[in-house]
């Protein structure tokens, strides 16, 4: 143990005297803090969106209830068109009284943008088919979405390993090239333990700096409470594990006994393959094998349903008018029933198309889930998004909750619309509310996958590194 500590202390002192490692660590810490600040700004914007949507809903509901009260008091003289009449259940459930379903940013949302800039945090649920409200996007410059932002997930996945590699790539080869390896090996009975201590010093510097910067950044930008969550423990564990993977990789390559330039080129190539090419290849392959569904199919199904329902309604109305020639053809009741009929037809067909699309996306995700083991970078990126509550798991949960709420909403409004029962203020008070999942429940959803996909290769690489160090000769 003392040999290990001696190696660690010696290497730490050497590192402290060099300028380049200090600058690299400073840059890493600075970038980490900047990324957390950028994340906090983003979270604030999203929270504002959610708050604004909730405020708009509250304002809309009070306006509707005010109008209802005026109607009850007989203060509204003119006949309101059905699409502006708060008593009309078909139009109220279909849009006037639309309910806000919001996804509140999780405590660690600042750590990864994930899907948050693509998936809208606010959805206005109506009784119409889901295609009409589920695919309303937030506005952003597409070039911004393409390039992404400087979030912590980016810093950890791409920059952090490079700093680790820069510090660890030439522990053995550097000593050999400087001619000091023989002395180092002769300094202890177990030279490999000394070397392990030296490697630990080089690894500890970037890992500890990053963890300290993340702790500080989260405390400043998300509040000290965020440090006490299980998510933060997950975040720190992911950073530690991913860092150890790259340390072990550097050790394994260095342990091969080649020169520094070989190590540098091999490790940079490995980084390019693992962090850039494999994720890109996996995405392309999954997209090719199981292409994303054509959402236009869903819209066309809704439109076809509307046309068919219109036709059926026309035929039914024609029959009715034959026997009731005095009835007004385009009255409010008829318009409400026609809207309800088209909505119901579209609902049935769109639900089946969405189910098919989800199954297709599930196949794509399943393939990605299998291939993700080849890319520790992708694995880490996904884990960070999960911990931040901006990953697929949370959004899919949100969509499931919306689907359940949509049914609840329809159960409330559709029977009233069908029966032509006018809505009252009490109905508005009793209308279903979307119960958001608690943001604090967000956590690391794939720890097992992470341990298998990252922990196992780390162990194997560490073994290779230990073997290489044990066989090390000064030559």
């Amino acid at each position: 143990m003392s040999a290990f500590l001696a190696g660690l202390r010696f290497e730490a002192r050497t590192l402290a005297r060099e300028r380049a490692p200090g600058l690299a660590l400073l840059a890493l810490v600075g970038l980490t803090l900047f990324s957390l600040h950028a994340g906090a700004v983003r979270v604030e914007t999203q929270q504002r969106l959610v708050d604004a949507a909730r405020a708009e809903e509250a304002q809309r509901y009070s306006a509707l209830k005010l109008l209802l009260a005026k109607i009850d008091r007989g203060e509204v003289r003119e006949e309101l068109p059905p699409y502006r009449d708060p008593r009309n259940a078909s139009f109220a459930g279909g849009g006037l009284a639309a309910r806000v379903a919001a996804l509140t940013p999780a405590p660690l949302a600042l750590a990864a943008f994930g899907q948050s800039d693509l998936a809208p945090p606010v959805v206005r649920v109506t009784s119409a088919s889901r295609d009409s409200f589920l695919f309303v996007d937030e506005i952003d410059n597409p070039a911004n979405l393409l390039n992404g932002s400087t979030d912590l997930a980016f810093v950890i996945v791409f920059v952090y390993p490079l700093v680790i590699l820069a510090l660890c790539y030439n522990l053995l080869s550097g000593e050999r090239e400087r001619g000091t390896l023989a002395m180092t090996l002769a300094s202890a009975r177990r030279p490999d333990v000394v070397l392990a201590g030296k490697l630990a010093a080089r690894a500890l510097a970037p890992i500890a700096s990053t963890l300290a910067a993340v702790t500080l950044g989260v405390a400043i930008f998300a509040g000290p409470d965020a440090l006490a969550t299980g998510g933060f423990f997950g975040l720190a564990s992911i950073i530690l594990l991913y860092g150890l993977f790259w340390v072990a990789f550097a050790g394994a390559v260095d342990g091969l006994g080649k020169g520094s330039s070989f190590n540098a080129l091999t490790l940079v190539s490995a980084w390019v393959v693992i962090a850039i090419l494999l994720p890109a290849g996996i995405n392309s392959l999954a997209g090719y094998a199981h292409p994303s569904p054509s959402r236009m199919e869903m819209t066309l199904a809704a439109r076809a349903a509307a046309t068919d329902a219109d036709r059926e309604r026309d035929a039914a109305l024609a029959r009715y008018l034959e026997t009731h020639p005095s009835e007004k053809r385009g009255g409010a009741r008829e318009r409400s029933l026609r809207r309800l009929a088209t909505q119901e037809a579209a609902f049935q067909r769109v639900e089946s198309v969405i189910a098919r699309h989800e199954a297709q996306l599930d196949r794509q995700r399943a393939l990605t889930d299998r291939l993700i083991f080849f890319s520790p970078a992708l694995l880490t990126y996904r884990a960070l998004a999960d911990v931040a509550g901006t990953g697929e798991a949370r959004y899919r949960g949100f969509l499931d909750a919306i689907r359940a709420f949509h049914l609840e909403w329809r159960d409330f409004f559709v029977p009233r619309a069908r029966d032509g029962v006018p809505l009252t203020a009490a109905d508005y008070d009793a209308a279903p509310q979307f119960r958001a999942e608690s943001a604090t429940d967000v956590g690391w959803t794939h720890p097992g996958t992470m341990l298998l996909g990252l922990g196992l290769p780390t162990l194997m690489l560490a073994l290779a590194a230990a073997t290489g160090y044990a066989r090390c000769r000064p030559r």
Binding site: A38, T45, L49, A52, A53, G114, Q115, L118, P120, F135, D137, E138, I139, N141, P142, A143, N144, L145, L146, N147, G148, S149, T150, L162, A166, S261, A264, L265, V268, I276, L277, P279, A280, G281, I282, N283, S284, G287, Y288, S292, P293, R295, M296, E297, T299, L300, R303, A304, T307, D310, D314, R329, G330, Q364, R365, T368, Y381, R382, A385, E392
Partner: protein, 492 residues
Amino acid sequence: MSDLAPIPAASAARAPGRASIVRAIAAKELIEMRRDRRLFALFVFTLVLIGAALGFGAAENLRLGRERSAAAEADRQLWIGQGPKNPHAAAHFGQYAFKPVSPLALADPGVNAYVGSAVWLEAHKQNETQFRPASDGGVAARLGGLSLAFILQTIAPLLILLAGFGAFCGERENGTLKQVFSLGARPDELLAGKALALIAGIFALFAPMLVGLAIALLALSDASKLSLADQFIRLGALALGYLAYLLGFVFLTLGVSALAKNSRAALVTLLAYWLTNSFLAPRLATDLTRGLAPTPTAQAFRAGIATEKAATFGHDETHPAFLAFRKETLAKYGVSRIEDLPVNFRGLQLRKDDEIGYAIFDKHFGALQASFDRQDTLRASAGFLFPLLAIQPFSMAFAGADSRAQFDFTTAAEAHRRDIQNEASENIIHFAHDEGYAAGPDLWRRIGAFSYDAPTASFPLAHSGPAITGLTAWLALSLSFALFAARRQRPL
């Protein structure tokens, strides 16, 4: 005329021309590159990646093209098969406009995953495009896919710097630099020869890629819908743009190699720059542009339109603007009752409301695109320093996959929406004599399907000023830097 020819000076006879020195240096560099097994393996690997990217790109383009054609045809049938109804009800049902896939998007899909490909053309409203493919892609998809643009923008520069980082300092370390200079080679010639070798390497990658792309264009482009000549002009522009981008890396690599103390320092410097250019600069530029030139939120954007639309009447017959319009119309026709008008008043009302709406939509959607343009210009303004910020918008623009191309499509779609509205309102004005008026399939057929003619290559050229300036400045700066660095060599 004397029979005696002047004997050339001995030194002049032996001294090879500058061109032959440059050629000799280039040939030697190429041989060394070819002998470097790791470099050769990287080169072959990149070629394989290029092949895979071409394959994925072509397959995706074909799939999207098929999907959108089928959707457009299905929507047309729905439109025609509506059955008799009031033309305004048909206008509410509307049509869908689908964005055709640009053939060169197989090389650079640009922002296609982040913009919708369909827009609903309905009465009273200009809608935003729907269905961003990236929304379905999950978190993993945010790390990007394999495309030719990705390889050229990210992997090719890495290949150049790995091939060239030791060009000067490696020779200095090996002691061969002095020998080369002692043979009469000048720094400029050495630079030119080494640059030529790296350029030859680029061409070896470029040539199969260009041939593959040309074949794909010929095979995948529908000549009846777009001009093949235009596609090849775009391809030529892309080749020039990427040439400038990669040449800049050649000169930068050689310059750094000439100035660096040793090859390790050269490699570390170049890798740090490559990382910054490829990954950090685009993200930092996003954060910066978002802060300096913010875009509105969807809620603010829609609220802005709704506020202005509230000043017009739509279907609200109690709106003051409606009452004023009715008064004005009655006065214009010299009658006192709507029933006495020679035309249908509801049709006039719809047409008037639409005309007011068109100006409101033009203002807001124009302002939104202007805010995107401001951000894009800001991003490209650092292109001389980090050329990815210049080549990326340039490449997307000529591939027909940038936000400007998207705006052109949505503008064309909106023009078609207005044609539908105008035709429906005109029909009501002239033919609707009672409340139960219904038009039939003849009118639905007369109102055509949306057809989009993508703009010619002059369109991206006109909108790529900042990117072209950035790329030119990048090339000029890197060349100047390389010349400066090479001339600082002190060989003897």
